[in-house]
């Protein structure tokens, strides 16, 4: 600007005070969206010229709209990740602790000569397979967490290295992390895994811990977890990390409920769950209450469509998927939706019949369900038993 406003004029401008009440949000939003009539626009503009508060409101609202649009267009994955960012914080400490411990084990085991470690072919086969329960290197959620882990500066470089490792690197790291004595047990477990893979698929799941079809990967991973000293920790890393971020291949947001395993504000349901399910499945609930899954971008298949249920919420935690809807209907699957079991929300003779609005699982075992009546049901054993609050 070549011209400057005279100070006297600036003071006079600041002295202006709006004589009338603030315009309604309806008018201000109409101003932001250029949806006002000429008379309304003149009235609102006159007010805005002399009201700093309303000017701030319209600038904030306008900037928010522009930011949402821009984020949606350029970074749909980031937008989805930021939708429920606080959900990742509660897991920051255990996640960092897990990563630090795993990194320590890796360093420790890397000092052991490689010829001291028996290498089982079965293990390699199993580890080459996709590992849904392990941290996904390209997962945006990991990126978010790592960016927020800056205070732990001392351990950060190692964490970054560990978390961003490519699948082959992870395989090597995990191999190195096994003690020789553990390898023997691992071989046994992997043989079991191979046997499972060769066997025909088991029947549909009726219990939460049942083995799922096509579970070679799962079994192998479980074996690794069992045999690692950090078995439990690996499980936590994989499954207890906040499921708020989409996979790298997350498609632009569609007209569907979107969220991860942990529902967002308002205690309501969620939908587009996108991580760690077998074959990178994505889930959503349509506007008309249908549960859908997708393994190919843009192609959605209805699930449980034969049931007269209007779904409101879906949550994914690790390989477990929970879906809830009308009349207290709650379903669970551990195999990407091939087999479902209906879970009754019942406690002390009381059975929930309201609409399930929100499902929230922090770990595969601990979660809660909120209904439209405001009732909260919680479980700490993966849905086998529920407590009504």
């Amino acid at each position: 600007m070549k011209q400057e406003l005279p100070t006297s004029a600036r003071k006079a401008l600041a002295r202006q005070a709006a004589a009338e009440a603030h315009p309604s949000a309806d008018l201000l939003s109409g101003f932001v969206e250029h949806a006002l009539s000429a008379a309304e626009k003149e009235r609102v503009t006159t007010h805005l010229a002399s009201c700093a508060e309303c000017r701030e409101v319209v600038f904030l609202a306008g900037a928010a709209a522009a930011e949402e649009q821009q984020t949606r267009q350029e970074h749909p994955a980031a937008a989805a990740a930021r939708r429920l960012p606080w959900a990742s914080w509660k897991w920051l400490a255990p996640a960092l602790a897990t990563v630090a411990i795993v990194a320590g084990i890796i360093v420790e085991r890397s000092l052991i000569p490689s010829n001291a470690k028996p290498h089982a072919p079965a293990s390699t086969v199993a580890m080459n397979a996709p590992q849904p329960a392990l941290p996904t290197a390209n997962n945006a959620a990991d990126e978010v967490i790592m960016k927020r882990a800056q205070p732990a500066a001392a351990s950060r470089p190692r964490q970054m290295q560990t978390r961003k490792a490519t699948p082959p690197e992870r395989e090597t790291q995990l191999d190195r992390s096994r003690a020789p004595a553990q390898q023997a047990v691992l071989e046994k477990k992997n043989k079991t895994a191979d046997a499972e893979a060769a066997a025909p698929p088991p029947p549909a799941i009726t219990a939460e811990a049942a083995t799922v079809p096509g579970s070679t990967v799962k079994s192998a991973t479980a074996a690794n977890e069992v045999n690692l000293q950090s078995a439990g920790r690996n499980e936590i890393t994989a499954k207890a990390l906040p499921s708020t971020a989409p996979s790298a291949a997350a498609a632009p947001r569609e007209s569907a409920k979107t969220s991860g395993a942990i529902s967002g504000a308002f205690g309501a349901g969620l939908a587009l769950a996108r991580r760690d399910t077998p074959a990178a499945l994505r889930w959503r609930i349509t506007d008309d209450g249908h549960l859908e899954r997708s393994s190919t971008p843009g192609e959605w298949t209805r699930v449980l469509a034969e049931l007269p249920i209007s779904f409101h919420s879906v949550a994914v935690i690790g390989s477990d998927v929970w879906a809830g809807g009308s009349d207290g209907a709650l379903f669970h699957t551990s195999d990407g939706g091939e087999h479902w079991s209906r879970v009754e929300l019942t406690s002390g003779g009381q059975t929930e019949a309201g609409n399930i609005q929100s499902i929230r699982f922090n770990t595969p075992l601990q979660g809660s369900v909120i209904t439209n009546s405001g009732a909260t049901w919680s479980t700490s054993d993966g849905g086998k038993t529920w407590a009504h609050q």
């Binding site: 005279p6 004029a9 309604s24 309304e40 002399s50 000017r55 709209a65 504000a265």
Partner: protein, 285 residues
């Protein structure tokens, strides 16, 4: 009313009212109420009305479960995104979005009749835009409330400066201020809005351009033109009030030391405000 009834009948299917149990007569009643509250003629309101979103808002207001499900599906995530975009702080964003949801749902402690904020949505702009604006209003309210509660010591620490008693020199500027006020008041509202946004709020040209849906260069040119014209008219008014041309030029100079002090104070205050939000985010990181 016949016009409203005809409009309701014509657009009934598109409005989605049927799925919420709203018939044509009820829809016409909603439209009539909106027109009355907007203090406008039906022919001015109806063509630009966001009918489908208005119906959804009214169905939610009436407590229709299906409407609430649809509302949450469409706007829940958007509300958080908007709150975050406005507050740039996760905790504040969650607080804003949660409190708005409670106000929208309209449940009070006594469990009495709903007093949902949705009744204030009159379908001018989109429902999403209205929600963003309500969140922004709440944010500004909270922020101002916080600022008002700041103690004098804190204000001093923040670099606030307080005006000295008016000097004779300031009193002598009364003619300048009167001229400036008169010329400002004569400006069209949009030009005063532009000046206030740029010079008082220190909005950037890009921010103003985005809000007004024009190009940045358009805003720049208009500001240049309005500012130059204002200076010229103030100078002319001062000369008309008896000042010499040189006195008038000096009067509208921006080199007054007192003004510099004020500007520095304002700048510091602005910087502190930004810093406070930054710190808030950082502490939680």
């Amino acid at each position: 009313m016949a016009m409203v009834r005809a409009y309701a009948a014509e657009h009934f299917a598109d409005s989605g009212a049927a799925r919420f149990g709203i018939d044509v007569d009820a829809l016409a009643a909603i439209l009539s109420e909106v027109i009355r509250r907007r203090e406008a003629e039906p022919q001015d309101v109806l063509p630009t009305l966001r009918l489908e979103e208005l119906v959804l808002a009214r169905a939610c207001l009436a407590g229709h479960d299906g409407a609430w499900e649809l509302f949450l599906t469409r706007y829940r995530a958007m509300m958080y995104e908007a709150a975050y975009a406005i507050a740039h702080d996760e905790t504040a964003a969650r607080g804003l979005a949660d409190s708005l949801y409670a106000e929208l749902y309209g449940v009070n402690a006594a469990g009495e009749a709903r007093a949902s904020k949705l009744r204030y949505y009159l379908g001018r702009g989109s429902l999403a835009g209205w929600l963003r604006t309500v969140i922004a209003q709440e944010y500004v309210n909270r922020y101002r409330r916080t600022r008002r509660e700041t103690s004098l010591d804190a204000a001093l620490e923040e670099g606030a400066q307080f005006a000295a008693p008016a000097s004779q020199a300031q009193a002598a500027d009364a003619r300048v201020e009167a001229a400036a006020s008169a010329e400002l008041a004569a400006l069209p509202a949009d030009e005063r809005f532009l000046l206030a946004a740029y010079y008082l709020d220190r909005r950037t040209l890009a921010e103003i351009a985005r809000l007004l849906h024009v190009h940045e260069s358009t805003v720049s040119r208009k500001l240049e033109r309005v500012t130059a014209g204002l200076r010229k008219r103030i100078r002319k008014r001062l000369i008309g009030a008896g000042m010499s041309a040189r006195q008038a030029d000096e009067a509208i100079q921006d080199t007054d030391v007192r003004d510099l002090r004020i500007e520095v104070g304002k700048t510091l205050e602005q910087d502190r405000r930004d810093l406070a939000f930054y710190k808030k985010s950082g502490e939680e990181g």
